[in-house]
């Protein structure tokens, strides 16, 4: 009898034992996954998924550089008999063709690596961060961290939508921005399983400006010393650019002044060692930088846009256009800093000449004080405040010339044009020119458009290159669709009823 009692109690223990420790035993565990729990987690999401040091990498922003008038193709010497020369993989962009994702050798560019895809991926992380900030605040997570994180996240979302709308949407035209197509606007983290549609350009810009104002407010007390994390000056600098795009010139001036009141200085090229990189993280000009792709620019961007069978063998496929190089004044110090002579005739990009042990910079996500001077000068000139405009401009130019810089035109359209040309020279190959060309084309007061010609090379029997003709991008009024990068066919295919591209005509070779 006794034994049975013992056994029964043993049985009960046996059944209960796992139940008692069951909670601990079943505690979820993962090597590297976790739920979002703390403000720190949100901060880490910014670093891991929102800021993108090696962001586009491998040259997926090439297209933004090769559509404008600052580059031209660099003809290739043929290396071996029987080797056929393939035209550039990026010729679809370079020649403004209807579907630039399809390359002439039959290769289809993967949607996954397009700017569109990568930027929206980051936006989705940013959206998650912004969505979770109030939830974390309710949980009692530290408020100052959350304020900073929120500010940085809003800044990044603004920066990304700025890039997207200027790449895949129509330029901001004051008169029609309400109805012009922009890009899909997604600000919530939840997955939207259905098709998506484009918001209007105005909606996207409103979102960008609201985000920037939020960022300006939240970042007041943070990241003042940092150039790699968003700070208030970066938000203000971007606001000054945005207001220039939306033709709110007074605001553009106001925000430019706010940045200039801070501690950024123009580098004087008279004291500059020409073998150094011009764009530097530690330069007193630098306001904000994200990513470090510019050194690769030397090879992978201007370099191996052209593939000859073997991916690893690359030659400099593009060079600075003669028009750009010749637009510099003989006394201008910049050409010798910005360009370098390549193996073949033509000037190559050289704003970054070598890897920088102190930190490399981005070819497209870099903001520096020179732009703010140019923003301010342009805004003032359009507003007719010519004297202020000229003095702002000369303030920049005096650091760029060996002698006293020549005096710009007195005012009106000529001054505006002069400032715009100065902007082209100063900011070349920093991701501005293509966007600026679009912006000038729809400017309500001083519209400016031009035709751009890109030469096409062929090879004779002796395997020497010759110009076989050119492709032409006509002025915006005649060729508007070509000024907008079409979305990848797979995106269109997925959302057929709600998403479309403006049809681009096929562009013939003109001989």
């Amino acid at each position: 009898m006794m034994s049975r009692i013992i056994i029964k109690s043993l049985l009960i223990i046996l059944v209960l034992l796992p139940a008692l420790s069951c909670k601990k035993f079943l505690e979820t565990r993962s090597q590297n996954n976790n739920f979002l729990k703390t403000a720190q987690d949100l901060d880490e999401l910014l670093i891991g998924g929102s800021y993108t040091p090696s962001f586009l990498g491998n040259g997926h922003t090439h297209m933004l550089f090769i559509m404008d008038d600052d580059v031209e193709e660099n003809p290739v010497p043929v290396l071996q008999p029987f080797q056929s020369v393939e035209t550039s993989r990026f010729s679809g962009y370079y020649n403004w063709q209807p579907n630039p994702y399809s390359f002439s050798d039959g290769y289809q560019e993967d949607n996954q690596v397009s700017i569109y895809n990568k930027v929206y991926k980051n936006i989705s992380t940013v959206n998650t961060v912004i969505y979770n900030v109030p939830l974390m605040r309710a949980k009692g997570e530290p408020g100052d961290v959350l304020t900073r994180v929120d500010g940085e996240a809003h800044f990044l979302r603004a920066l990304y939508y700025f890039l997207l709308v200027n790449t895949y949407g129509k330029p901001y035209n004051k008169a029609s921005a309400n109805t012009d197509y922009g890009v899909p606007l997604k600000t919530e983290p939840a997955i939207e399983p259905g098709p998506v549609s484009r918001a209007s350009v105005k909606e996207v810009y409103d979102q960008i400006i609201n985000d920037l104002l939020k960022a300006e407010q939240n970042l007041e007390a943070f990241n003042k010393q940092s150039v790699i994390r968003a700070n208030q000056a970066a938000a203000q600098a971007l606001l000054s650019r945005l207001y220039l795009y939306t033709e709110e010139y007074e605001k553009a001036v106001t925000y430019a002044n706010k940045v200039m009141a801070k501690n950024y200085r123009i580098t004087n090229l008279n004291n500059f060692d020409f073998t150094n990189n011009f764009l530097q993280l530690r330069s007193p000009e630098t306001i904000f930088n994200m990513g470090e792709d510019a050194p690769n620019f030397l090879y992978p961007v201007i370099g191996p846009c052209l593939f000859v069978h073997d991916l690893s063998s690359s030659v400099d496929a593009y060079r600075a256009s003669d028009e750009l190089v010749q637009s510099f004044d003989p006394d201008d110090l910049r050409p010798s800093v910005f360009f370098d002579l390549g193996d073949r005739p033509g000037q190559l990009y050289a704003k970054v000449r070598s890897f920088d042990l102190n930190g490399n910079v981005s070819e497209i996500f870099m903001m520096r004080i020179a732009e703010i001077y140019l923003n301010k000068a342009e805004a003032l000139a359009v507003l007719g405040r010519n004297g202020e405009a000229i003095s702002t401009l000369q303030e920049l130019r005096k650091n760029r010339f060996a002698t006293a810089p020549p005096v710009p035109p007195a005012g009106g359209e000529e001054l505006v044009k002069f400032i715009r040309d100065e902007r082209r020279r100063e900011l070349c190959f920093e991701g501005h020119r293509w966007f600026d060309l679009r912006r000038y084309a729809v400017n309500s007061k001083y519209p400016f458009t031009k035709s751009i010609r890109h030469n096409s090379y062929a090879y004779n029997a002796a395997l020497e290159s010759y110009v076989q003709g050119y492709y032409e991008l006509k002025p915006y009024s005649q060729d508007a669709a070509a000024y907008v990068v079409p979305l990848h066919p797979l995106e269109i295919e997925f959302s057929q009823k709600t998403l479309s591209n403006q049809e681009r005509p096929a562009r013939p070779l003109i001989k």
């Binding site: 056994i7 796992p18 069951c22 739920f35 987690d41 399809s102 949607n111 690893s312």
Partner: protein
């Protein structure tokens, strides 16, 4: 419940759904019973039920005994018997689990004295394996004389010369033999093999007698399926299990087959069955993710969960197929369960068994039908045509091309040109001989078994050496097993230790060695004329290359080794608390280690090709040199620790005094833990022959090397450590009610809780459960038909829910590493919230009819099943603005249904009185069907937005033409794995290029206009047609057994129907008929190629190179958004004319065995010896159109896999 033989009654068995106790025997079993005025037969029945002891007694004795009244509690069985027999003229003896009851001796002699010619008969009782049977009963017919055999099987009985003797033994067919005046009689008893009543099914949680089984289970005795030439048990299951599809896609040693039990009921999860050994769930030694393991083209060389198990240690295999059988395994059992029971010790003196087998495997040869490639004369003819037609040449030049170019360039004179050409034409290098060889290997296994009733042991060691036909490849396994069984009072315990180590070596898969043998021009020499190795430049690159490739050099300077070892300790404890209640515990601990290492040293073309365009060039080369020094080593280590603790209470009880209502229940809980850690690292600068050291490489000097260092494994140079810890807590219960042995109703349920991260099964309770019933008709409706031995109807229903981990309503982040740029930690989003995901649910129905007729001469089972998976998980593409490309949703409904037939016939059974003329023929056909269909893909409905919505399983969200071609798209009302092909139209009159309907080049403009407005899926459906499914619909086997005297002959045919295969690619892939490089060989078909206009009327084989015009299809030139195909030649290989039926009938195995006669054995001093020869995969009858291609090989696979090789073996088994 009573099996009657003339005048002998064996009161056999019942009520042992949890019949561990029925299998084992207690030395001193105890009885509790209370009967009042009951026949003695009732007492025997209770004794049997409580102890598992069989009772043997003659009807005559029972009929003469008065009813008994008895009330005992926990009384030893002997005492109970003595009380019963008190004052009665009965005596008893207990031998080997059997109580034999007879009249007391003096009375027997009295009755015999009436006989006219009394005398003694003596002899020996043995079984068909020549083992003496101890404790067999010999009974004189119609007389109350009984005798028992002793330990050597000998007996002596007193009987008249005209009497008949009845020989019986538990689990053996009794025999009645006339004495006819003999005084010595040696008798061989046959085991009751096919008798259903004797089979005990193990589900891992329960042991169920077949006649109480309600679920669907196929039970196989290892002895009946063993094939000496095969090294793992999974390969021996081919054609043996109705409803299980067996697919083997490679003949390399150690390559694991793919098994599908009753179809495919999930799209995202793994489709392989669960393996269980002695009640413990087995895990794969190296985790392979579901996408790969489900991929029909994936060759699994790392092995599966039972690769380490020596088939010689296996006793029985139970394949659990329906929900009623698998419910106790919970969600993991969705694809069926294969339960393996290993051998245990048998009581008796030690028996040592030794078996050795030698196997011979034949390598592929150019003369094989399947190897249908050009010889060098034909190949040079192709080159000649290329040059005569002035077609463009591609790739580095060899053989004819090289000689011609050199001659044109005036580098050689005409004489040496002619000499070189004739050398090329007659070269005929035997690449297969160079890279493969015929292999002979031996396997050894030594086992010992023995013990007493209260303690038994079994121990074995085994060595298996499986040699691959590819030179240097092998798979060696060392295994050891010790098992110890104890019965002590109310405790039964079993302890076991199992150790195994495997060593495998392969030629690295990067080399694609068979592709090489098939696809390399035979005009290229292997050796120079001076006997040294001939090196040549190989590769796609057009830049000048050093001649660094020679296949033997490449094989000698590289290797891929996979080593693994597993150690398991387990204990199974069983305690009888009270007669109705039993407690059981199973404890097990396993640790496993595995290491994969593959390397290439410096002197290989593989390394050279990674060295960039200008290796060694300081200016350009340094940046692009990814292996500046040495070779590369890739290493992957994996360690696993597992434990499993199970507690279970078994309750069984009669609910009424008449003992008609029986209730039985099990309640249990299980805790299991699986800890896994792995490290994966690749290193360059490796010098294997210089003390396995590594060069110091300065990453700042070598850009390409530095980039490689920053990439993640498997290809990059980063180190990856992975860790996993899985805890599982489960509760389960079963209940069974049996009425009068006729009607059985059973229910099972289980629920699991785990620590899996983001596993929502912890939040929502959804048990897996089943209901099932059985009607033993032969006890009821059909009981008056003596020719029906057994007839039963089974039905079951069960349901299983499944939820994917990581799919939660919350954001899940991936904790990242220190970001050196920001000098802080960064994380990324791993999974976005998925709040709307519901359970994937599978309902299964099963119905079957089992029968056994004419004394078991005919038996069989006919079953039907239906499985429906609703809310199946599918990945769907979402717009890129979401930041992800695809997303899991409940998308579809899958249906699997089929019929399973299995029969056993014994047309001839002459196991007669004498050993000499006995002849037996048994034939067991099996057949199983699986019809599988995607009923409804919810994503595929509604408006025409089919495009891109259905994500393929393999690609990341975007449907491409390849998905259609390889059968990875899911389309409504089609089978899973349905694949498509282009519609071949003919060859172009002018160019000999293949043309296809819907893609005609002459309509390019119209088609372009049409297709550019159509979604991709619709274009594919326009230019392609579904041509069949890749998995077979019907598979089965017919096994035959012939026994004659000491000889036995077994052969098994397996058959498979219903799938289609692509013919091996002839125009693309490994053969370059499109732009043939001088190094590439072509298929023999191309001898009959189109050469000149008009040839299209006589041949379907396209021209080489499409007559020089660029063969890029128009959609590539026109920049159509969607690619329909890569080239016309790829499309040719993927066209409908290249798809044939994959049906086959195969002589899967055949063996001839001879049992050495007793005398001879005695002479050698052994108990028994068997010698035999056997063959596996001997020949295959398949569609003629396959032209020798093995149906297991498919043109869909990216590589040509080694076809399944025939294996010949001899084997010798000796027991001492």
């Amino acid at each position: 419940m009573m099996r009657s033989f003339p005048s002998i009654t064996v009161l056999s068995v019942l009520f042992m759904l949890c019949a561990l106790r029925a299998v084992a025997q207690d030395s001193e079993p105890k009885i509790t019973l209370s009967v009042k005025d009951q026949p003695i037969r009732e007492i025997f029945r209770v004794i049997h039920a409580q102890t598992g002891l069989n009772v043997v007694v003659s009807e005559k004795i029972i009929s003469g005994v008065k009813n008994i009244t008895l009330d005992v509690k926990d009384m030893p069985v002997k005492q109970v018997l003595e009380q019963c027999f008190n004052n009665r003229d009965l005596s008893y003896s207990i031998v080997d689990g059997t109580i034999v009851i007879r009249k007391k001796q003096e009375k027997e002699i009295e009755t015999i004295s009436n006989d006219s010619l009394p005398g003694f008969v003596s002899g020996k009782v043995i079984n068909s394996d020549r083992q003496p049977l101890e404790g067999a009963t010999i009974h004189v017919k119609d007389k109350n004389i009984t005798a028992m055999t002793s330990s050597d099987g000998s007996f002596t009985i007193m009987a008249g010369s005209q009497d008949q003797l009845i020989f019986s033994y538990v689990n053996y067919t009794p025999q009645t033999i006339r004495i006819k005046g003999r005084s010595v009689m040696n008798v061989t008893l046959e085991k009751l093999v096919s008798s259903m009543a004797e089979v005990i099914i193990s589900t891992g949680y329960q042991k169920i007698e077949q006649r109480y089984l309600t679920g669907s289970v196929t039970t196989l005795k290892m002895d009946s399926i063993r094939q000496p030439g095969l090294s793992t048990v999974d390969k021996m299951l081919e054609g043996r299990v109705p409803g299980m599809i067996f697919m083997q896609n490679s003949g390399q040693p150690g390559a694991a087959p793919k098994l599908r039990i009753r179809g495919t009921s999930t799209i995202l999860g793994t489709r392989e069955p669960l393996w269980v050994v002695d009640g413990i769930v087995q895990v794969d030694p190296i985790p392979v993710d579901a996408k790969n393991i489900n991929n029909l083209d994936f060759v699994n060389l790392v092995g599966n969960a039972i690769s380490g198990l020596n088939p010689n240690d296996i006793e029985q295999i139970d394949v659990l197929k329906d929900a009623a059988a698998t419910a106790l395994y919970g969600v993991r059992a969705a694809n069926g369960v294969i339960v393996i029971t290993t051998k245990r010790g048998k009581p008796g003196p030690p028996v040592v068994t030794y078996s050795v087998s030698g196997t011979y495997t034949r390598r592929p040869r150019y003369t094989d039908k399947e190897v249908y490639v050009m010889n060098s004369l034909d190949r040079v003819d192709v080159s000649r045509e290329l040059i005569e037609k002035h077609l463009k040449l591609y790739g580095p030049y060899e053989a004819y091309e090289k000689a011609t170019i050199d001659y044109y360039n005036n580098e050689i004179d005409f004489d040496s040109y002619k000499k070189q050409v004739s050398r090329a034409e007659t070269m005929n290098t035997d690449w297969f001989k160079a890279v493969t060889n015929d292999k002979f290997a031996t396997n050894h296994s030594l086992g010992i078994s023995g013990g007493t009733q209260s303690s038994r042991y079994y121990a074995s060691i085994g060595y298996t050496n499986e040699q691959g036909v590819i030179k240097g490849e092998y798979n060696k396994r060392y295994s050891g097993q010790v098992k110890f069984d104890v019965n002590h009072k109310k405790l039964k315990a079993q302890f076991g230790i199992n150790v195994n180590t495997t060593q495998r070596r392969y030629v690295p898969s990067d080399l694609g060695i068979l592709n090489y043998a098939y696809g390399t021009s035979r005009a290229i020499p292997l050796y120079n004329e001076d006997g040294s190795l001939y090196f040549y430049p190989k590769g796609q690159q057009d830049f000048a290359q050093k001649a660094t490739f020679n296949v033997l050099n490449e094989m000698n300077h590289s290797s891929e080794d996979v080593d693994g070892s597993t150690y398991t300790a387990m204990a199974n404890l069983n305690y009888q608390v009270i007669p109705e209640l039993q407690l059981e515990a199973i404890l097990s601990y396993t640790t496993a280690n595995s290491e994969q290492r593959s390397w290439f040293d410096e002197n290989t073309n593989w390394v050279y090709s990674k060295r960039g365009t200008y290796p060694g060039d300081e200016t350009l080369g340094r940046d692009r040199d990814a292996i500046p020094f040495g070779g590369e080593l890739r290493q992957r280590n994996n360690r696993m620790k597992m434990y499993n603790v199970r507690g279970q209470a078994n309750y069984s009880h009669f609910m009424d005094a008449a003992r008609k209502h029986f209730f039985q229940a099990n309640l249990g809980g299980e805790v299991s833990s699986n800890q896994n850690s792995g490290i994966e690292q690749n290193r360059r600068g490796y010098y294997p022959d210089r003390g396995q050291r590594f060069a110091d490489i300065d990453p700042s000097r070598y850009n390409a090397y530095r980039n490689w260092l920053q990439q993640a494994p498997p290809n990059g140079g980063k180190i990856r450590i992975s860790e996993g810890l899985t805890h599982l807590l489960s509760a389960y219960a079963t209940a069974t009610y049996i009425f009068n042995d006729r009607y059985i109703v059973s229910a099972n349920a289980r629920s699991d809780f785990s620590n899996a991260f983001g596993d929502r099964s912890n939040e929502k309770f959804l048990p897996t459960w089943s209901l099932s019933a059985r009607w033993n008709m032969h006890k009821d409706l059909l009981q008056n038909m003596p020719w029906i031995n057994n007839a039963a109807l089974r039905i079951s229903y069960g349901t299983q829910g499944n939820m994917l981990p990581y799919q939660t309503p919350y954001t899940i982040i991936d904790i990242g590493y220190m970001n050196s740029y920001y000098n802080t930690f960064g994380s990324t989003i791993a999974y976005y919230p998925n709040p709307n995901l519901r359970w994937e649910k599978t309902d299964s129905y099963n119905a079957a009819f089992d029968f056994s007729l004419f004394n078991d001469k005919i038996n069989g089972s006919v079953g039907f099943y239906y499985k429906k998976t609703s809310n199946a998980f599918l990945t769907t593409k979402v717009a890129s603005v979401n930041g992800i490309g695809e997303y899991v949703v409940n998308g579809g409904t899958l249906e699997n249904k089929g019929m399973e037939l299995s029969f056993g016939f014994t047309p001839i059974n002459n196991i007669g009185a004498t050993n000499k003329r006995r002849f037996i023929w048994r034939i067991d056909p099996q057949l199983g069907q699986v019809f599988n269909k995607l009923l409804d893909n919810a994503l595929n409905k509604g408006d025409n937005r089919v495009v891109g919505e259905i994500a393929s399983a393999l690609n990341s969200g975007v449907v491409t033409y390849q998905d259609f071609l390889n059968g990875s798209v899911y389309i409504n009302s089609m089978s899973v794995n349905t694949f498509y092909a282009y519609r071949f139209k003919g060859l172009n009159h002018n160019t000999g290029r293949p043309e296809f309907y819907g893609t005609e080049a002459e309509n390019a403009d119209a088609l372009f206009a049409q297709y550019s407005k159509m979604p991709a899926m619709e274009i594919f459906r326009q230019v392609m047609v579904p041509v069949g499914r890749r998995e077979p619909v019907l598979q089965g086997g017919i096994s035959n057994y012939f026994g004659y005297g000491n000889w036995s002959l077994n052969f098994v045919f397996t058959y498979s129907f219903g799938n289609k295969v692509r013919l091996l690619r002839i125009a693309s892939g490994n053969y370059g008929s499109n732009r043939p490089k001088s190094q590439e060989n072509l298929r023999q078909e191309f001898v009959n190629r189109w050469r000149y206009p008009g040839d299209e009327d006589r041949t379907n084989i396209p021209a080489i190179n499409g007559n020089g015009t660029d063969s890029d299809p128009w959609w590539l030139e026109k920049n159509l958004n969607v690619s329909i195909g890569n080239s016309y030649y790829q499309m040719y290989d993927d066209a409908d004319i290249r798809v044939v039926k994959g049906d086959y009938v195969k002589l899967q195995s055949s063996s001839l065995n001879y049992n050495a006669p007793q005398k001879f054995c005695k002479h050698l001093g052994v108990k028994a010896a068997t010698i035999g020869i056997a063959g596996s995969n001997l020949f295959t009858l398949a569609n003629k159109a396959l032209r020798g291609q093995d149906p297991s090989q498919s043109g869909s696979a990216p590589n040509i896999n080694l076809s399944i090789r025939p294996v010949y073996s001899f084997n010798l088994n000796v027991s001492l």
